[in-house]
């Protein structure tokens, strides 16, 4: 029987942020012109939630009748989500100040989406998994359509909503099949039931259900073949929204995917390894080849994110603690690279045209803005995985576990895909340094943006220094072992 009062202490971060969102809403509604206040308050709330999450400790604990789990893994992933979300709020403030859009709901929705992501990361039941996804997605649909006067933004929101609703339906269908054939929605109970059944004896309905659940989750991480929405939504949404989409939801959904596969369905790894393997290979290849043709930098980043998800999924194929560690490190470095890149994209602004997104607008950037060009080059080389930058190590730590598991073909495909990917990343560097000079952008005056981009660039270069990388690697190892995969 459930305890009289659930242990709330491990969920303080979520509870605080959810209450904070309501406070922000009240402040925004009753105080005139409070968008600045609401934005900075939401950053402060996220910071407090971050400390509460860290303070919750790393040992595995359950609460809310086993619907909620907190351990080292969830703690690390929540930190990533909160950092990404806070940076997105700061970036959006700078962006909307220049655009003259002063609706305070933006940070509020971002905070609520973050609560949804934290719930996803901590889900220990198919029901809390679904509720977390739904809270997150619903906020994201609204954010995608936030610029309601723009046809592209509305189209992005609508497309995301329709396809997202479809994927939620598929996910729920899978959950109901799993529940019907296994008899529980709780991750721990599913794991017990499957281990009682023995290896390979899982009922066929549960296998079908798992495949449907995987399809629903693959949509959320935009893995091929469920990636179709990504380029349109990334292009149509406003740039800070895209910057948010590219990082935080992916981290949360991958954390959820990792837990779903490792904890409840760990005994069915024979069934899901092939599915993940296919998604991973297809994502890496499509991300690399389709990006070559892109002229819009946000579309390019969309395909790039599809490719990166493919690499991150490699960590899951290994099925070991080392693979999970690779995934964690990958997402950490991916966060830094992507945030930096999107700050640079948001600097592409001219006086008369406003935001520009075409890659050819970067032509000759090295003469107009040498610092910006240098920063973009660092991010592009890192995204391509050129040593000694951080992006190389990210790929290194996901490929090593699968090589030790004997998946040589897979590792070879991964390396080849990253070679193809390098072409379109480095093409941007070529455009900036060797093409004819065009009109420059407005100088980036915002202090926070400069700090973010400098910090990201320095972290990427400095990752090779052991003093910088060792703490990250060690906490990733601890986080991976915290989930206790089989």
């Amino acid at each position: 029987m459930a305890e009289l009062f659930p242990n709330l202490s491990i969920a303080y971060g979520e509870i605080f942020l959810a209450l904070g969102a309501m406070v922000l809403l009240m402040v925004g509604v009753f105080k005139k012109d409070s968008v600045n206040l609401v934005s900075w308050l939401s950053v402060a709330f996220m910071a407090i939630a971050l400390f509460l999450t860290i303070g919750a400790g790393a040992e595995q604990q359950y609460t809310f009748s086993n619907l909620f789990v907190a351990d080292g893994f969830t703690r690390f992933m929540k930190i990533l989500v909160l950092v990404a979300a806070a940076l997105a709020v700061i970036m959006s403030r700078e962006f909307f100040r220049l655009e003259g859009d002063n609706r305070f709901e933006f940070p509020v929705l971002l905070v609520l989406a973050t609560v949804g992501m934290m719930i996803m990361v901590s889900a220990n039941d198919l029901m809390s998994l679904y509720m977390g996804i739904e809270l997150q997605s619903l906020s994201l649909y609204v954010l995608a359509a936030f610029k309601r006067d723009s046809e592209r933004s509305t189209e992005a929101g609508l497309k995301y909503f329709v396809l997202g609703a479809l994927s939620s339906g598929i996910l729920l269908y899978g959950c109901s099949l799993v529940y019907g054939f296994i008899g529980s929605t709780n991750f721990s109970s599913i794991a017990t039931a499957l281990s009682n059944m023995g290896d390979g004896n899982a009922p066929i309905g549960a296998v079908v259900g798992l495949v449907f659940v995987l399809a629903g989750l693959a949509f959320k991480v935009s893995a091929v073949p469920f990636h179709m929405w990504t380029p349109d939504v990334y292009e149509g949404s406003q740039t800070p929204v895209t910057a948010f989409f590219a990082v935080a939801p992916k981290v949360a959904a991958l954390a959820l995917l990792a837990r779903t596969l490792y904890v409840p369905f760990g005994d069915m790894s024979g069934s899901w390894t092939q599915v993940i393997m296919f998604m991973s290979i297809a994502s890496m290849l499509l991300g690399s080849f389709a990006a070559i043709m892109q002229t819009n930098i946000k579309r390019l980043m969309a395909y790039s994110s599809i490719g990166h998800v493919g690499f991150a999924l490699l960590g899951l194929i290994a099925g070991t603690s080392g693979g999970l560690r690779g995934l964690i490190i990958y997402m950490t470095i991916y966060l830094v690279m992507n945030v930096g890149t999107f700050v640079c994209i948001m600097s592409m602004r001219r006086k008369e045209d406003g935001m520009v997104e075409d890659i050819k607008e970067l032509s000759g950037l090295s003469q107009n803005h040498p610092a910006l060009a240098l920063a973009i080059s660092i991010f592009m080389f890192s995204l391509a995985g050129v040593p000694p930058l951080a992006g190389f190590f990210a790929k290194w730590y996901v490929i090593i576990p699968i090589v030790t598991q004997g998946h040589f073909v897979l590792a070879t495909i991964a390396v080849l895909a990253s070679v193809v990917g390098a072409y379109y990343y480095i093409r941007i560097v070529k455009v900036m340094y060797f093409d004819d000079q065009v009109e420059g952008f407005l100088p980036q005056k915002s202090f926070p943006m400069k700090i973010i981009v400098t910090l990201a660039a320095v972290l990427i270069i400095a990752f090779i220094v052991p003093q910088i990388s060792t703490p990250i690697l060690e906490s990733a190892t601890a986080a991976a072992q915290g989930m206790d995969p089989n």
Partner: protein, 206 residues
Amino acid sequence: MIAAICFYIFATILVGSAVMVVFSKNPVHSVLFLILAFFNAAGLFVLLGAEFVAMILVIVYVGAVAVMFLFVVMMLDINFTELRKGVQDYLPIGLLIGFILLVEMVVIVGGWSMSDGIAITITAATPPANEITNTDAIGRILYTDYIYLFQIAGLVLLVAMIGAIVLTHRKRPGVKKQNIGDQVRRRRGDAFEAIDVKPGQGIGKI
């Protein structure tokens, strides 16, 4: 015996009104038949012992959804005769698809069996159905075991509300709203002036 009679009455009216939803000429009649169909479905649920679902069906579907349909049908000027134009052309293929679905359902129900693994699966503990009603059973867990999900559902609804306002609410210029404070504070002097008009001079400039 009575249950069987009730079942056939409810089922017949349900199917009949469902057919009328599709075939009635007047869209308002369609919605009214839909409400009748909901009521009969609720009756069927009561016969199954699922009184909670029956009440939800009446409250949510009849009370909210059907009334909303009625509003939509009456407020939006949709030309329903235009929408119906293709019925004759599509009737054969529609009937064919319906027939295939029917056959498939018969096959599924006919071949119904429990999963082989059911013996070794663990099942969630359910309270004995003859001791407590299902409203009671849901009430026992909804605010205790599942309080977490219940609260998240509240947050999801909050997001839906914020989203609807963000995406549709606009400040319209020139909208006049009643301000009771201003109305009460208004004195005679604000709108009324007594002028002593001298003969032959008019009122001059005001």
